[in-house]
Amino acid sequence: MDLTSHLLSILIFFPAIGALALLCLKGEDELFIRRLTFVVSVAEFLASLAMLLKVPIGAASYSLVEYKPWITAPPINYHLGVDGISMFLVILTAFLTLLSVLASWKGVHHRIKEFHVMLLLLEVGIIGVFLALDLFLFFVFWEVMLIPMAFLIGIWGHDRRIYAAVKFFLYTMFGSAFMLVGILWLYSLSGSLDLVTIQAYLQQNPSVLSQRTEMLLFLSFFLAFAIKVPLFPLHTWLPDAHVEAPTAGSIILAGVLLKMGTYGMIRFCLPLFPEASHRAAKYVAVLAIIGIIYGALVALVQPNLKKLVAYSSVSHLGFVVLGIFTFHAISMQGAVYQMLAHGISTGALFYLVGMLYDRRHTFEISEYGGLATPMPWYAAFFLFVALSSMGLPMLNGFVGEFLILLGTYQVHWGWASWAATGVILSACYLLWAYQRVFFGDVTHQQNRDLPDLDARERCSLIIFAVVTLWMGIGSPYITRRVAAPVDAVIQQTQSRYAEEAARPARAVIQAQDSARRVVSQ
């Protein structure tokens, strides 16, 4: 069997096999379970890197496509494919899962087997979401992913975990229920559930969707994605979910789960409903900008370190949404880049905050102070990651934000200038928090003897730091691969929109022609 032709299936289901293997083990072999999960996730990560070799640079279409009929009525196919955008998101998922396993080495003490099973199943769902090219298949993964995440929060989370898990579940269900209706409606209009087929069909027959229908369909998809991103004012589940989730859960949640929303916008909302996207763009952009500023301001006043990082996600994801809905090639590239960069930086921030919690069992900023003295390594890494998160040049956060603002400025300078305040505010809340936690005298006696990073933590943070630095310097490696698919998305969005606009003009010309004919007769 040719393995590479099934690479995507392997990527999706390999963690599931790992999870099955774990299920067969006894729950007492804690160390073995951790090691096995670690090996599985490393293998998965390496396999995901194989995509880099297989996906040609500059290809706008999907590579490594797999296509198998699954259900006959309605025609649902097992259709997978990867392009530059989804490729990096899959790699990011595999990377962060790997680090989540490391992050929960000491933080998770009970039901260890189930924890790792859930972690791997979550990976299955997320990677499936990024690779599915059939709307139905996409929806299946989208929903399947919910259960392990809700369990991760609900079983291994902190005090208010059940509330947070249920809230997370219901919010997402709310969006996805309407997305299912939208998918079926689209199917009844186009006769297909295959993304590529529908896209081609709609491009050829733009009259299938009336303006109102297109808008409603757009909203049914957009709502599900906006909840997941989360776009202001649908973000209220996020702080709860983040604060209550275990460290590994937070890393995955912030690192990749939120990106499923923005990915969905790029993959589905824009190409399928270009006109509606254009019409909704200014409202979405305003909400995104409100999210950027609001998220940053709330982060500024958080007494809880984890909540601060959570709200910073709201702010950063606002940039991504803004970048997508300006329909500018540069800003959309920036949006994709920001998705990846935010995954790394925020993943690392949650990891760091989790380490602090493992030691002191509190997230309150006021409980800390002067930590730089007992934990110099930790302080150094935290500063590095915080700087990358606030967008210091040479580090990963800068590239994305810069490209987004650059592109946005060319479309709408007002949006760009409002959004730019978010960059400043992010420096404020992160540096202020840093100052309160690390500088000055040690204010609490318990903090005096906190152990610094151990080898495992140091190794994983070094990996994070190297990736952060590489993404800041070597950004062309990624943008070159992202550029073509992004251009394709923009073209799909533009061409039909332009056609729509051109149609009345054509009608006028035809009318003039016929008038002339009448006159000449």
């Binding site: 006959t72 009525a73 039901r111 929806f139 299946v140 219901l170 209706v181 079926l184």
Partner: protein, 492 residues
Amino acid sequence: MVPQVPQTADIIRVLPEISWCGFGVLLMLLQPFLKNRQALTLFAMFGAAVGTLSTFYGHIGPGFFGLIQFDTYSLFFHWLIGLVAFLVILASDSYLARERLEPAEFYALILFATAGMGVLASAQELLTAFIGLEMSSISSYILAGYRRESVKSSESAVKYFLLGSFATAFFLYGIALVYGVTGSTNLAQISTADPNSNLLRLGLALILVGLGFKIAAAPFQVWTPDVYEGAPTPVTALFSAGPKAATFALLLRIFTTIHAATDFWFWAFWILAVVTMFVGNLGAIVQTNVKRMLAYSSIAHAGYTLVALAAVTFLKTDTNAETGPWLAYAAVLFYLLGYALVKVGAFTIVSEIGGQGERYLTLDDFAGLGTRQPFAAAAMSLFLLSLLGLPITAGFFGKFYIFKAAVTSRLIWLVVLMAINTIIGAYYYLRVIVVMYMREHKGEIASEAATSLSPTAAMVVIVAVAATLYLGLFPNHILGIVLNQNLLLSAR
């Protein structure tokens, strides 16, 4: 007039009913001699299986001068109710032992009820349907009160009996009116009458009330929670799966044969569906008793199925294969199958957790089940997720096909309301899962239920789990059956 004599073919077409009744009678006769409970269980299961498998012997066509119609449609429902009866009998074994109840009559009644449902599923004539309805109802009344010592069980039986008789009266009165208008009780002949006659509408509306009672459609649902809660749990499993499916079979047959594709019936089903969904789901939210919660959930699911019926009445005139009414029939059939299996599985677990006297049915009793009984908790979660309609379960495809049928009919508002109900449903289904996995158990634990499921119950649960996953992952095979355009011979 030449007296009409039933032919062999007629007999063959009611072979399942004859087998079920025959084995029921045999069980009653055997009871004085056979004291071994397990032997009786096996015998009853054998009877259920023989009845179900005898459908393979029968051939398609009308029987008894058009009183019944044996077609793919009734074949499907015979399998469905036969399977439910088989599983319920298997699940009852440990229950009857625990509650020290007489097995023989219990099984005989289940088989009689099943025979009644079989008649319902193939009835092509209203009085035959009435006989089927009564057969299944009267057996059900007795089954509901089978736990004689329990006050709740008696209450359940009395309530069911009184309200059920009332509903039957409606049904009969409806038949009388229909007969008065059309001069016939045969569906094919009724279908030739003017569909806009107000008296015919009234008659059919009364029939709808009578059947609406059986499927627990709001506002005829008030009996459901009390009866479901009081009845012995395996019987509740039977109630929520068998009679419901059979009554839906009849309902669908009536309203596809007569000219129901009118605004009047469309809106009747539309309103019925919406009210039923909301009553069921909003009622379920506040329940702390899992059995009662599942009762309300079955009201909600009746509402979902009614959504598909609204699509049927809307689509009846369309002959296109992809958009025609077949899709909506398929949705109903697929849904009922998945739903029945899931409900049987879920109630079996509830019955096992309940312990002697069914004392442990509240949410608190389910706390910590994830650690005490990992298999039962995982299976229960799967059933609940299927009821909620999450992918890779049978319930998802059921919901998906109903959505699809309704969207194809452009019933977008109805679909949106159903989607909202799904979300409401998510809350209370999820709560059980949360309690099972995320809360620690407090207080006493039913000693019998503390360790694991009884082997027979575990078998039922395994079958239900396998079926749920099979229908959720590979629905092709069953779809091939239910998407058959000649499903309803009479609807051609």
